[in-house]
Amino acid sequence: MSSAVTVGNFQEPERLKDGRLLARLTLPANDLLLDWRRFSLVANYLAEYSAYHFEQKDRAENLISSVFYELIERLAASSRREARLDIRFTAFAEWLLFELHSSFPAEELARIRELLAELQGGDQEGYYRRLLAADLEAEGNRHKLGLAMVAHDYHARLSGLLDAGDGSVVLRALVGEQEISG
């Protein structure tokens, strides 16, 4: 029996039809952990590479890099040292799917599950405002801002497929393409 659980609307069958995979990278999580500047390097590479598929490529590049950066940082920082980070970027008719696969130790898995569950609430605006007003340096809040910012500022639908059995994690952020045009 599978020990995998989903948090949020992971499948989204209506939105995720006939996608085009625009970019995919697989990297050792440890490489990223050894030098955090690689988060930015990877996010920028994916964004610059993919931006040419969009009419407003400058805004697309900035948005793709900004979203990927937060997802990569969040996932890499919690990954097992030996994990490989599989990063995929897919475009659908009106949606952009940012997807990352990795493997977490049990306590990090529980933490991301809790955060994703928090971000599913109906009052995104209130949640974000309360988070900004809270002590962001407090241990419980420090790692929340990145995903909360993606969910709020880019109206991303965040979801996860988490398996406590083998520690595998799939994190998805689904962003409307209209976010590029502002």
Partner: protein, 388 residues
């Protein structure tokens, strides 16, 4: 006074009590974040009135960087000492998404988009309807300007920037005909950049790229271009010095800055010379009223000299009824007629009579151009100088 990190620069401009953020504020270690926090807090203690935080040239801000900014804003708000004004740009996606949320942290924190209404004629110039006018002008100017650009040093292999490139047709013509290694076109008009990118695809031009950008805060590194153009644009900005500073910054030492500009004093024609003079005097005045300088051509030499550029070259691009196609010339004047009498006329709230007088003046000019023995000339002045 500034603070630098691996990919960012934070500096203070005392003239505007403004902290300028540049580069990419990401993945900074805790010591860097503490240093930024201290830097902002120290400035806050020393200032009175309003403190501005300018993010226009910050390409990226991560959540770690945002934490520091938010902490600073909360502290500043608690102390109630200063008003804090956050300044962003509409061309950078993260700024438009993230910065507007921050004023909720305190009633003395404000946010403004610098480049919305940052020159008076912006709504007109950046409208898609302006594109046909630009294209007609290029059709007439390019046969003359191609030779002038060569004379001013644009040659094969150079790295070129066309700032305020409009719909990109001159950048593409340069890329195709003059074989630079690369041409980057930057403009603040989204319809114009979309148009330019579409043309680039259609013409399969590979040595060019177009970016949406703010010419007063270019996201480009210092001294990276051999030849920097800014055509027919300095004349529409009410504060051209902000653009000139950026053109100079991105130009390599030894490279050339090339400007051109109109001068309504130089538009002539016969017959109907009196009507023609009268209409361009009026159009020039109306241009001034919306922040343009349509007499800018004669000032270009002084502008380049003022920037301490050397080896200044100056040319006239004289489009006339002898060297150019009369029908094309007339087509351009029809675009001007509509732009001046209708678009600018409505913007200025001109009376019906004033609009009719303008239209009658342009009609007289059209009759001159279409008269088989009529003569008319539109002069654009082109000047370039070398950066030492």
């Amino acid at each position: 006074m500034s603070i630098t990190g691996d990919r960012y620069l934070i500096s203070y401009d005392p003239l505007d009590q403004q902290v300028n953020f540049e580069g990419s504020l990401r993945a900074v270690n805790p010591a860097d974040l503490d240093a930024i926090r201290s830097y902002l807090n120290d400035l806050h203690q020393r200032l009175d009135g309003t403190m501005r935080l300018n993010f226009r040239k910050l390409r990226y801000l991560s959540s770690a960087g945002l934490r520091v900014i938010v902490d600073f804003l909360k502290t500043a708000n608690q102390e109630r000492k200063l008003d804090i004004q956050l300044i962003g740009s509409k061309v950078v996606a993260w700024e438009e998404k993230t910065l507007p949320n921050l004023p909720s942290l305190g009633e003395r924190i404000g946010f403004q988009v610098f480049d919305r209404n940052f020159y008076e004629s912006q709504g007109i110039i950046e409208d898609a309807q302006f594109i046909p006018l630009l294209r007609n002008q290029t059709r007439l100017l390019w046969p003359l300007e191609r030779e002038v650009l060569i004379r001013h040093g644009l040659r094969e292999g150079l790295k070129v920037a066309d700032i305020c490139c409009g719909c990109g047709d001159v950048a593409l013509l340069i890329a195709r005909d003059l074989k630079p290694s690369f041409v980057l076109g930057v403009d603040h008009s989204l319809p114009a950049i979309e148009y330019a990118s579409q043309l680039q695809k259609e013409f399969k031009v590979r040595n060019a790229d177009f970016r949406l950008g703010d010419a007063t805060a270019l996201m480009l590194e210092d001294e990276q271009f051999d030849f920097v153009l800014c055509r027919l644009s300095i004349q529409i900005f009410s504060r051209p010095e902000l653009i000139l500073k950026e053109l100079y910054r991105i130009l390599k030492p030894g490279g050339r800055m090339y400007l051109n500009g109109e001068d309504y004093d130089l538009i002539i024609g016969y017959p109907h010379d009196g009507d023609i003079r009268k209409v361009y005097d009026a159009a020039g005045r109306y241009g001034t009223a919306i922040g343009m300088d349509l007499y800018n051509g004669k000032k270009l030499y002084s502008i380049l000299g003022g920037l301490r550029l050397t080896n200044i070259r100056l040319d006239y691009l004289d489009v006339d009824t002898v060297n150019s196609d009369r029908q094309l010339f007339a087509e351009m004047i029809r675009s001007w007629r509509h732009f001046s009498a209708q678009t600018i006329g409505q913007r200025l709230g001109l009376t019906g009579q004033a609009q009719s007088e303008l239209e009658a003046g342009y009609d007289a000019h059209l009759r001159t151009i279409q008269h088989p023995f009529g003569y008319s000339k539109w002069s654009v002045m082109a000047a370039s100088g070398e950066k030492r």
